[in-house]
């Protein structure tokens, strides 16, 4: 019988349907092998476990490429934490620090000495001249000593 003929003969269709139903009822349920059943049952559990393992790392759905740097960051963060811990300096470090301090103070001393000299040179000279110039107006002796100083 051709499929196009079904519309023309509804009685036949009903007969076919009842025949199919009867055949379906005769079918028995094939049991899957036990190993396959176990594996299939395990799938939802494993999937849930996988999701839970990284769920604290991924609040939303992150793309897989983001996982590699995130995993790499964990040991780096641990390393950073270790490095940030205050370390007890060694005896060599302390000795080096003493020498560094000595050099630092030597530079301070040097700058202070030079500055002192500069100030003494500028202020000393100017003060001496300004005082002597004023005095020489009234006291001839200072005028004489001023001349001697210049010669």
């Amino acid at each position: 019988m051709k499929r196009d003929d079904w519309n023309d003969r509804p009685g036949d269709i009903e007969a076919w349907e009842s025949q199919i139903d009867a055949m379906m009822e005769q079918l028995t349920v094939e049991k899957a092998p036990a190993s396959l059943s176990r594996r299939l049952k395990r799938i939802p559990r494993e999937q849930r476990r996988k999701e839970n393992r990284w769920s604290w790392l991924m609040p939303g759905q992150l793309p897989q490429w983001a996982l590699a740097p995130a995993i790499a960051a964990v040991p780096l963060l641990v390393l950073a934490f270790v490095l940030m811990q205050p370390q007890q300096p060694s005896a060599a470090d302390v000795e080096q620090a003493r020498q560094d301090l000595a050099i630092a103070f030597a530079y301070l001393d040097k700058v202070g000495y030079r500055t002192g000299n500069e100030i003494q040179t500028v202020l000393g000279g100017k003060l001496r001249h300004s005082v002597k110039d004023n005095l020489s107006e009234h006291i001839p002796f200072t005028e004489q000593s001023s001349k001697e100083e210049t010669t």
């Binding site: 560094d100 301090l101 050099i103 103070f105 530079y107 301070l108 040097k110 030079r114």
Partner: protein, 184 residues
Amino acid sequence: MKTSMIRKILTACVTALMALPVMAQEDALKDYPGYVDFGELSAVFGEPTVQISVGASLLGLVSSLSASEDPEAAELFKRLNGVRVNVFETDGMADGAVDLVKDVSSRLGDHGWESVVTVNSNDEQVRVFMMINDDQVEGITVMAVEDTEAVFVNVIGSINPEELGRVMENFDIELNGHGDDSAD
């Protein structure tokens, strides 16, 4: 391709981590009122010939170890938070050196530092500043730039200048090629 990318990321992370302790020490010093940011010294003077940065922890240890040998120095170190020195050798007055000294001086003035000494000559620029709070010196900054050398010193902590002078006398250090300067 992917491996090299991850390697690059890891290298960058490790490099950043290596610099963390130094940055942390500098950051710790930045919180003190006596800290001075000299700006980009290397851009003007090149690489420093002497660079010293001693933090509070090392100063504390040096202090405790010096207690029996030099009690006065030990007492001074105990109250210091940091000592920073940058020295540059120069051939003539470096371009931008005077401007840098003036800029830093201006900033220090704005931040409440008191100018103690100023030497303004063609061949020498010297500035000494002090940070004084409640009659207590909390920092000393020295900038000395001349034809052959540029020195930047920042002493951070509670300092008595007289005490500093006495402690400096006890140090017997001859600076390279400049040891005779203080003798003339």
